[in-house]
């Protein structure tokens, strides 16, 4: 169908990611089995205006390196399945730890929306978040929500819609590393681009290779290298 779009939900464990998923999709859910096989992810649809958003609830993880099956599955989905928009759900009461996941997602894919969840709880604790500033710094929409109390949903859905139509363009700010690391990235990135082209971010792949991410290496081998060459 031409009006269906895939939206991935990423986030730390216990950030209310699944609460958001359930609140948005209601009973329109089923369990999908994606590549990675061992971990199944819940899927559900959200009709909005003339479109249908297919939401995919990725496993909750603290990071998107390949430390565990969960992290690999979430990472592979964002990078290789290429959802139209990736929602990163953050816990407003511990934003610092959560933001680190958002920064990683911004390195991997372009269309990202940052949802700061539990905003009512944060306000109760006296935490004030300047989302305009964060939006500026990160280059993608930042939206405060409360999944539990269904606050901020219209704006969230509208933003997703406008990203899909192209009314909003995301320019995810790339994390700037120290000179030493940037230099190594420069050395390796051209060669990476030769191999993966524009299909995935060559900068991100370079970083992962420098970090010694063997799981990603295997995945790239499976997906990008033709049978005979391996």
């Amino acid at each position: 169908m031409g009006n269906e779009y895939r939206i991935a939900l990423a986030g730390n464990p216990n950030t209310g990611k699944s609460t958001l998923f359930n609140a948005l999709t209601g009973l329109r859910q089923h369990t999908g089995n994606w590549a990675g096989k061992t971990v199944s992810m819940a899927q559900g649809s959200v009709p909005f205006k003339d479109k249908v958003f297919q939401l995919v609830d990725l496993p909750g993880t603290y990071s998107l390196f390949s430390n565990s099956k969960d992290e690999e599955v979430a990472r592979n989905f964002i990078v290789f399945e290429k959802p139209d928009v990736t929602l990163v759900v953050l816990d407003a009461t511990s934003l610092e730890r959560n933001l680190n996941l958002a920064l990683q997602v911004l390195e991997m894919t372009k269309n990202v929306v940052i949802c700061i969840n539990l905003i009512d709880e944060a306000e109760k604790q006296g935490i004030k978040i300047n989302e305009k500033l964060l939006m500026n710094r990160l280059g993608v929409p930042v939206i405060k929500i409360s999944a539990r109390n269904k606050i901020g949903f219209p704006l969230l859905l509208d933003t997703i819609d406008r990203i899909i139509t192209g009314a909003i363009e995301c320019h995810p700010a790339q994390m700037k590393y120290s000179d030493e690391i940037e230099e190594q990235i420069r050395k390796i990135e051209p060669k990476v681009r030769e191999m993966v082209g524009d299909r995935i971010s060559s900068r991100w792949v370079s970083l992962r290779l420098l970090d010694g991410d063997e799981a990603l290496l295997n995945e790239l081998n499976k997906r990008f290298v033709p049978e005979g060459v391996r």
């Binding site: 603290y62 990071s63 390196f65 390949s66 430390n67 565990s68 099956k69 969960d70 992290e71 934003l95 610092e96 730890r97 933001l99 680190n100 920064l103 990683q104 604790q125 006296g126 935490i127 004030k128 978040i129 300047n130 989302e131 500033l133 964060l134 710094r137 990160l138 994390m175 590393y177 120290s178 030493e180 690391i181 190594q184 050395k187 390796i188 060669k191 990476v192 030769e194 191999m195 370079s206 970083l207 290779l209 420098l210 970090d211 010694g212 063997e214 290496l217 790239l220 081998n221 990008f224 290298v225 060459v229």
Partner: protein
Amino acid sequence: MGIQELYSEAQQLSTAKMRDDIVQQLYDRSHQLCQEGVSYTKSDRDLRTEKLDAIFTSPILGFPIMIAMLGLVFYITIAGANIPSAMLAEFFGSLEKYITSFFTLIHAPAWVNGVLVLGLYRGTTWVISVMLPPMAIFFPTFALLENYGYLPRVAFNMDRLFKRVGAHGKQSLTMAMGFGCNAAAVISTRIIESPRERMLAILTNNFVPCNGRWGTLIVLSSLFMAASYTGGVKSLVTTGVLIGIVMFGVIVTFFVSWVLSKTALKGVPTHYTLELPPYRKPKIFDTVIRSSVTKSWSVLVRAVKVAAPAAILTWVFANIYIGDTSILMYAVQFLDPFGKLLGLDGYIMMAFILGLPANEIVFPILLMGYLSTGSLTEVDSLVALKKILVDHGWTWLTALNMMLFSLLHYPCGTTLLNVYKETKSKKWTFLSFLIPTVIAIFVPFVITQTVRMLGLI
């Protein structure tokens, strides 16, 4: 260029420090963004947690505080358990007289009294009087620390050391679990997500003495290591010896992890996030009741369930004669030369072998073995206990070796079963048996030979 070559090239450009820097800089950026974009209007509670963390996880104070806390828990356990242990032993001892005279009264055959009183009754009451009081104190004290939020800080402190040997910082949490029960701790390694580091945690968990070995360790160190002291100092010395033993276990853990991560389980430690929850005042009543009653009770039930049949079996073996030697003595004599090499004896080796189902029963079996050879002393006090051991040629070296063997030897049957369930691999299960066993033979052997060579004994 193939992707494999690209990977090798990237690996040459990269260093371990750079891998850390990548993650570090991601966190620095998050921190910076929060500095700019987040403001706090009332943050007393958060500040308190931060201030406490600055002390508990400080590079200088972190370790001394950790060891002091561990020492405190041990000291409370040992000093507090002495009196109730003695009272229970005395109570069971006096009860035994009545049971025996009851059997005499109804003219029961001698073997009935033998199996039921000398075998079953003595074995199980030993387990209860020696194990129950320390457990009832240790579990709640430890649980209080846990509920206060201190344990994740321990993991944080230990992380640097674990990383250096190629293991995972969360391994210290599974080790803490091991103080209670290694079998449960093997299951708890599920919190370690990466399979390689999880395997390391499973294979080395046994080097933390579980509560089934606590009884043995406490009794032996207070009888032989702190023998010349009395009162509070005695408990203090016993605590010191126990801390030493635990530290030695930790060192062996690091060593084995390091060797494995250089050989069979090659690889670099993964990055991970450890949540440090805010410090909370524990619900003291709840914690104490739940952990002392339910946990101690379930461990005790298990101990008695295994101890009872083993006690009967030991008594039967000790009293069935082939020619003029009992089955038990055949086994003991067979094992004796090997035991002597390790500074132990045949009885001790046999107790450890029969004790495979549960570490709790090793000491009772040993005692029954000694007692079955004639000297039917009633073990109603620790003094009597020491006399039995000394009569069988024990010295401080025997006690030390037995403590080390107990600390290092193969995991109990339940733990091995759990290792198999968790790894689904016969090879790794066998290794989790083999590695500790080899070390448990090697260490006492070296110590014994050295001590004998130096003529210290």
